[in-house]
């Protein structure tokens, strides 16, 4: 994918849903270790990745998010034993549908980040932001009424 010159200035709006037990703690660890990633990412804490309803992701895009990422415990490590297994199927299906509708599939992502993986969290965010930056603004799946 070619990185557009003007996209360097583009500040995407990125929502990250993080499960309380692993990924939110991983994000905290990234902070404790002063591992930086752009301020474009805003984290929403949820108890488990299986709490994330596709409605929330659509909602974020509707309101103008340019990318949405869901982070949870690694498969097998879910605090609630099975939550991320369900989340995995649900998100796979949602992403598949968005792609089918012709919406850039790279705007959505799932990553498993444990509480010990602060570095991975920061790296993941950096990588996701640059992917979204190269895609530019979300135009296909937003509600123009919400644009100021």
């Amino acid at each position: 994918m070619q990185v557009n010159e003007s996209s360097k200035e583009f500040k995407p709006c990125i929502v990250a849903f993080c499960c309380n037990w692993c990924s939110y703690a991983g994000a905290d660890l990234a902070g404790s270790n002063r591992l930086s990633y752009p301020a474009d990412v805003k984290i929403i804490r949820v108890p488990c990745s299986c709490r994330v309803n596709p409605l929330f992701i659509l909602r974020a895009f509707q309101r103008g998010a340019d990318g949405v990422i869901l982070c949870g415990c690694h498969p097998g490590d879910c605090h609630y034993t099975t939550g991320n297994y369900y989340a995995r199927r649900r998100m796979t299906m949602l992403f598949s549908m968005l792609d089918y509708l012709g919406i850039e599939k790279e705007r959505t992502r799932v990553e498993w980040v444990s509480a010990a993986e602060g570095a991975k969290f920061a790296a993941t965010m950096n990588d996701f932001i640059s992917t979204v930056q190269s895609l530019g603004e979300n135009r296909k799946l937003r509600d123009l009424r919400c644009k100021e």
Binding site: M97, L101, G102, K105, T108, V110, D143, L144
Partner: protein, 320 residues
């Protein structure tokens, strides 16, 4: 047809059932309305022919709440929906007597009209011939050419839940089309082509809710789109986002539960190919989680309430 009438009459007369849910002939030779018959009303108007296309299973939600037992004529493809309703406890199976009826594929009046015929006064079916009388003249069509789209990709001709069934060897004599061919064609497009395709289709949506209300799986006591407390309720597509939202969410809510009965596309006044959304989910789940046909039985866990530890990661989509 005669066999059905006889069987229904017998079951009504011997008190096995109190009412009969079937189709009623209308004003034209092709309009068929689901209707309930009983001893008092008699079976006048009860019809079962190539135009009886409506899926009757959803009516059983309300019918099985009533006193007494209702007999339902159940086509093979509709019986999957009934199984789902049983599985999800939406009907009282004890109050339903399922009489399976054979189906040799249904004829679509829209397809007859699409050949250019209009002002139809009468349609007579003789073997493979569909003889159409119109105010502008008479024509004979080949039945195979005017079958409902959903029948061209028929799952099978087996009634999966029944108390009794009437068998027939008659078939439409057609070669079934690949059910996923249309989905594959879309998948083969570029994202922008797909986006434009779906925009051109979904922008037609008038939010009449026919797709939702006819769907045997969409049987929520109150739909999220009607419920002002959900924060996503709406009555019209004010922004194009809402056109996408409604259909994504609807397809998602029935994902793993949709039996692919094709009613959503059939009833859409704008002829939006809504079944292609549901079928995409079916195809994806079949490929990623193993072949699954919703409604084959009333027990199996559907793919979204099940998992295996080895499931594909969501990256299978965005790395494709």
């Amino acid at each position: 047809m005669q066999g059905i009438i006889e069987k229904v009459t017998e079951l009504l007369d011997n008190g096995t059932v109190d009412r009969v849910l079937a189709w009623k002939a209308g004003e034209f030779s092709y309009d068929r309305t689901p209707a309930v018959f009983d001893k008092e009303s008699g079976l006048y108007g009860l019809v079962y022919d190539s135009f009886c296309v409506n899926n009757l299973s959803k009516y059983l939600i309300e019918e099985s709440k009533k006193d007494g037992k209702v007999l339902v004529l159940m086509k093979p493809c509709d019986s999957y929906g009934l199984n789902m309703l049983i599985k999800e406890h939406r009907v009282d199976r004890e109050k339903i007597y399922v009489l399976g009826v054979p189906c040799k594929c249904k004829v679509s009046v829209d397809k007859i009209k699409a050949t250019g015929l209009t002002g139809i006064l009468d349609i007579v079916e003789e073997g493979n011939d569909i003889k159409v009388t119109t105010v502008y003249g008479d024509t004979t069509l080949d039945r195979k050419d005017v079958l409902c789209d959903k029948c061209m990709v028929c799952k099978d001709k087996v009634v999966v839940v029944y108390d009794e069934k009437i068998e027939s060897d008659e078939t439409a004599g057609i070669e079934k089309l690949d059910r996923m061919a249309e989905v594959e064609a879309l998948e083969a497009m570029t994202p922008d082509e797909r986006f434009n395709f779906w925009r051109s289709q979904l922008s037609k949506c008038i939010r009449c809710n026919a797709c939702r209300n006819v769907c045997p799986i969409c049987s929520c006591t109150k739909c999220v789109f009607d419920n002002d407390n959900t924060g996503i309720s709406s009555k019209a597509n004010v922004d194009s986002f809402e056109e996408n939202m409604f259909h994504i969410v609807r397809a998602y809510h029935v994902a793993g539960r949709c039996t692919d009965c094709g009613e959503c596309s059939r009833v859409c006044p704008q002829n939006i190919p809504l079944h292609l959304l549901n079928r995409k989910f079916i195809k994806e789940m079949n490929e990623l989680y193993g072949t699954y046909q919703a409604g084959t039985d009333a027990e199996a866990k559907d793919p979204l309430t099940a998992f295996t530890k080895e499931d594909a990661e969501p990256s299978v989509i965005y790395n494709r």
